[in-house]
């Protein structure tokens, strides 16, 4: 010990003598002490309270930003395409001749309904076909116009119409008869709704206004909310999860797990049977599972003001290390790559201008993309290495729920954090943190952009 001589010069003779006699004094040790030490060393560590380190969160945010930067050009391209498509659609629907033709069958019947009358549709297609290649779109938009379904395209169309050249404007007068027919459809509804108010004059006024394209979206008497834009949200996520009882990396003995889980596999049974010397989980005494890491891109489609549906693609990386120390030292590493499709329902619990608190619940199915397993058997004299790259059979299902918080950074961009609880079903997948501890708690974070 480095301190041994520090006080030696200061010590009195008596103390020196005591030191001399007792410093290296030994007492016989009973055997049971080693047995106790050995047992404690082989006992798995007690569960620790899970703490999500800040570097995970900051790493998640950084990864999300990186992903966002990667996908942003694609998103812009998509937007451009969408705009062009809208223009085409608009120009098609704006063609007065076709629309005039289209309205004729309807004018024969005041009850004509383009959305449900199959006879009317071919007429539209036929007339539009000769003029525009986007005949289907013509029909769809025409139908949309009469149905007045909730669709953001309606808004786009309105904007696009405003951009049309002057030639198209006079032709819009041709809308009148169609609009009249159309209104007749709506008139029934309108009159029903206005009867209480005795609004006959208003009904007429409404019909007169129909040809005005600026009012076009207002033809139906649907409530105002039907025209409200609900943007689709695109999110880049980064997440990680661990077991409920353990903060992350786990070290476990195999023996206690054997009874509660089905036979586990490191590589597919086919590979194990075809090639000799591939170790199985039973050949190892210890397993250490690293925190699963996930990155993904999801799209959220609002259904109502508070409820939305979310789906997308999520990539997950799992890594486990296996050991069996001894005279023959065995080490193995298994890396698994999964791609999953989540489907979640999200309900906003608290909605504020700058932030939202929401709950989420759903399921995810994941397909294993690749398994990469390496093993090393060190028998002191010979070291044997094996590498197995194989596919992963079957899929992994999971269900989960959680709460989330998102904070609006600007008009289109928000930052979110979602602690979640996930349960992985037994789907006979290669051994990983999920198969050993199906109930995981994790956190997702990322950026959400309004499209």
């Amino acid at each position: 010990m480095s301190k041994e001589n520090k006080n030696i010069d200061k010590l009195d003779d008596f103390s020196k003598l005591v030191k001399q006699k007792l410093e290296n004094h030994q007492l016989p040790v009973s055997d049971d002490i080693w047995a106790g030490i050995e047992q404690k060393l082989n006992t798995p560590k007690p569960a620790k309270r899970r703490i999500v380190p800040w570097y995970w969160i900051s790493g998640g945010i950084a990864a999300a930003i990186a992903l966002l930067l990667l996908i942003y050009p694609i998103q812009n391209t998509s937007d451009t395409t969408h705009t062009m498509a809208s223009k085409t659609e608009v120009s098609t629907i704006e063609e007065p001749k076709s629309m005039a033709d289209a309205k004729e069958p309807a004018s024969n019947s005041a009850d004509a309904d383009f959305s449900t009358n199959p006879k009317s549709t071919p007429t539209v297609q036929k007339n539009a076909a000769g003029l525009f290649p986007q005949k289907t779109k013509t029909r769809n938009l025409y139908t949309d116009a009469h149905l007045n379904t909730v669709d953001s395209r309606t808004v786009v169309r309105k904007e696009e119409i405003a951009e049309l050249d002057d030639n198209s404007a006079p032709k819009m007068d041709d809308w009148k008869p169609k609009a009249t027919v159309d209104t007749q459809n709506n008139t029934d509804r309108t009159s029903e709704q206005l009867t209480d108010n005795q609004g006959t004059n208003r009904k007429t006024e409404k019909i007169d206004r129909l040809p005005d394209l600026n009012d076009y979206p207002e033809i139906p008497n649907h409530p105002k909310r039907t025209r409200k834009k609900r943007p689709i949200l695109l999110a880049t996520t980064f997440g990680s999860s661990g077991t409920v009882t353990d903060g992350g990396i786990k070290q476990q003995d195999f023996a206690p797990m054997m009874s509660s889980t089905p036979p586990r596999q490191l590589v597919s049974k086919k590979v194990t049977e075809s090639y000799s010397g591939i170790l199985t989980p039973d050949d190892y005494s210890n397993a250490e599972h690293q925190l699963p890491l996930s990155v993904g891109v999801t799209v959220e489609k609002p259904l109502t003001e508070r409820v939305s549906l979310e789906s997308g693609l999520v990539y997950t990386y799992l890594k486990s290390m296996y050991r069996n120390p001894g005279s023959v030292d065995k080490n193995g590493t298994l890396q698994l790559h999964y791609l999953g499709v989540p489907l979640n329902v999200r309900v906003k619990a608290i909605k504020q201008p700058n932030w939202n608190l929401y709950t989420t619940a759903g399921t995810m199915v994941e397909k294993g993309l690749r398994s990469h397993y390496t093993q090393e058997v060190d028998s002191r004299s010979v070291v044997n290495n094996k590498v197995v790259k194989s596919s992963i059979e079957g899929v992994q299902w999971s269900v989960g729920c959680g709460v989330g918080f998102d904070y609006k950074l600007n008009k289109d961009l928000s930052l979110f954090l979602e602690p979640k609880l996930t349960y992985y079903l037994e789907n006979n997948q290669p051994m990983s943190a999920r198969t050993e501890q199906p109930l995981n708690i994790g956190v997702n974070g990322g950026l959400r952009i309004e499209l």
Binding site: E4, N7, F14, S15, H25, V29
Partner: protein
């Protein structure tokens, strides 16, 4: 690579054969150390067990600076101090104030005839705190400043208690020799 380096490397890899060898090599001395600090043999066995578990789980922290034996000794001293603190055995009110002053004059030749086990029995009779201070200063080589920091006392208090402990021990030895 000498045998100790081989053992350390084996322990760092978690190999049980290396752990067992380290245990067999150091446990008798460490048990004697534990008895010196906690005085009770059964408690000393617990400290010994706890100390070895710490040793094997924290062996990655041993960087090779200083002797391995010294590093191990430090682990056991700290474990013994934790045990005493947990059992409130380092209570400052159990002090040497009660002890009478004994003369310094003592025949060293006579003391040399006393066995280590007898000396150990005398040390065990010291109050916990003064026993710890005596052990740390006289045998393990800690300075009073280090002792004061570890025990949360003043340096002068450490000095005073060491002095009194020594005198008490001398008297105990003298009594023992008279028997």
């Amino acid at each position: 690579m000498d045998n100790e380096q081989r053992l350390i490397a084996g322990c760092k890899r978690g190999e049980s054969w290396a752990q067992k060898e380290v245990y067999e090599k150091y446990s008798p001395a460490m048990l004697a150390l534990c008895v010196r600090y906690v005085s009770d043999y059964e408690s000393a066995k617990d400290v010994l067990q706890e100390g070895f578990i710490k040793l094997f789980t924290k062996i990655e922290q041993y960087e090779g600076r200083g002797s391995f034996g010294g590093w191990i000794r430090k682990i056991f001293v700290n474990t013994a101090l934790e045990e005493l603190a947990n059992n409130k055995m380092l209570n400052p009110y159990v002090s040497m104030e009660r002890l009478p002053d004994y003369p310094d004059d003592i025949d060293l030749y006579q003391i040399e005839q006393v066995s280590a086990n007898d000396l150990l029995e005398c040390i065990k009779e010291l109050p916990s705190r003064s026993r710890v201070i005596f052990n740390m200063y006289a045998i393990e080589g800690y300075t009073h400043a280090e002792i004061a920091q570890k025990l949360g006392i003043k340096e002068n208090s450490s000095r005073a208690q060491f002095s009194r402990a020594r005198k008490f021990l001398q008297e105990s030895v003298l009594k023992l020799m008279k028997k």
